[in-house]
Symmetry: C2
Subunit: 290 residues, 2 copies
Amino acid sequence: MNDKAFKARLQEIQSDRNSGSAELARRCLEIIAESSLWNDSESTTELLQKLDVRISQLVRSRPSMVIVANLFNIFQESIRNISHLPPAEARKKCADSASQTIKLSISSTAQTADNTAALIGRNKTVFTHSYSSTVLQSFALLAKKGLKVIISESRPLCEGYRLAEKLSQLNIPTTLITDAQSGLFVSKADMVLVGADAILQDFSFLNKAGTYLAALSAYDNKIPFYVCSEKYKQIRSEGETPKLEAMNHDELNAPDLPFVTIENIYFEITPAKLITGWINEDKVVKINPN
Amino acid sequence: MNDKAFKARLQEIQSDRNSGSAELARRCLEIIAESSLWNDSESTTELLQKLDVRISQLVRSRPSMVIVANLFNIFQESIRNISHLPPAEARKKCADSASQTIKLSISSTAQTADNTAALIGRNKTVFTHSYSSTVLQSFALLAKKGLKVIISESRPLCEGYRLAEKLSQLNIPTTLITDAQSGLFVSKADMVLVGADAILQDFSFLNKAGTYLAALSAYDNKIPFYVCSEKYKQIRSEGETPKLEAMNHDELNAPDLPFVTIENIYFEITPAKLITGWINEDKVVKINPN
């Protein structure tokens, strides 16, 4: 993959507003797999340096999505001792390792979805916000088990509509509301369930703006609030807070007026005190009593 | 005003999504003033009966807006003893009384705005949600006193944009955000200030959906939360809760999908426990400590 093609793919990752962070991280690994195979470096050292530069660029492109950096750490660990290999073998080893890391991520997401579906159980109404592929997978497992879903639209680009489409295809009865109605509808659900873009050391987590409001409403109405996320989204170092990505304010489609500044911050942190539990690929970590 | 013309005006009131409830109540009184003057009843009894029927229809057209019923109660009290008057005099008395009631309402709103501006003070940043003419009047009084405003858009029809336009004309620095970002921005304000469509007996109040979320966020961030509203919006009878109006789901402009129900409830109740104080035309009623 030449620099021009890479730049185009990097741009796609940066401007993607539809995919969950695990999906995006796996696409980043695919880009690195292709970058390894189609690489004209004359030495393995040069190959590894070039990949490092691209990995850094991919990680920096989505600073709120910790899983990108975490999966690349696993990938880099797996190719740590290959500098002695001839370039052709090194290229193949890099591509294989990237594929292995993708598989690891897919199975973590699937296991997290299994654990989430088991926790939800039959005949429940679940409120969710934004689009999480883990949440969607767990809903799919409950499609014939009496699940009902309430979704907020998730302005500005309304990922909630995309989730509603998927649930419609699964024949799951779904209620679609504006974000402003979250306070009215959280109390009608048996639980609130959301995905995460990053889990912080103290179990606070990063997710699409609006999540904190749903959590406040759940807490006030004594509705359990769960976050489901594989452990690859956990931030390892203490005190580290990922950057809250802001996007172009044109996405709001609001009037352009003198003296008026439009803000479009995509992510926010929901504090641990509002969370009942964190469902990951191993278990349900209880954070607060129901 | 004949029945056809009245029906058209009633329809306008019912479908108005822009005006605050005090504005709408005053327009209802204007309709009754005109209905009084242009009325072909042969007796005063018939005139009063006809007006009663129209008043009931206007009150029922906006069940969440208590001020409509309350101002009509004042109007009806002021014409209680006119059945002995000849029709021509009665018509004039009704129209005059309606105008008097409109003036009363205008001066209450202005006095409430004065008290609100005094409470806010100089160089403050205020977060607000939805469109309230009382809030706007108080902001106008502080336009040259260092006021900054943060507004959420207030989906589905985004009355926040209309407020932003008015503040832009007043040269007031304003930040405009999605409703989902309320949790991120309430904490940047010195206080949250909203209007009300109805004040309940226990000081809970009815306002546009999204208000409860802003109140939860203010409470969690220890930001004072004030509601400004003239006393004519207070519900007199204990335990009475106004209907939460739901509007056409087409307003969301969301995709129409099988198994997916779109909800568009306009109003919600914010509980008294989240409110710092209620600013009315007389004073600031302290509800909870700051």
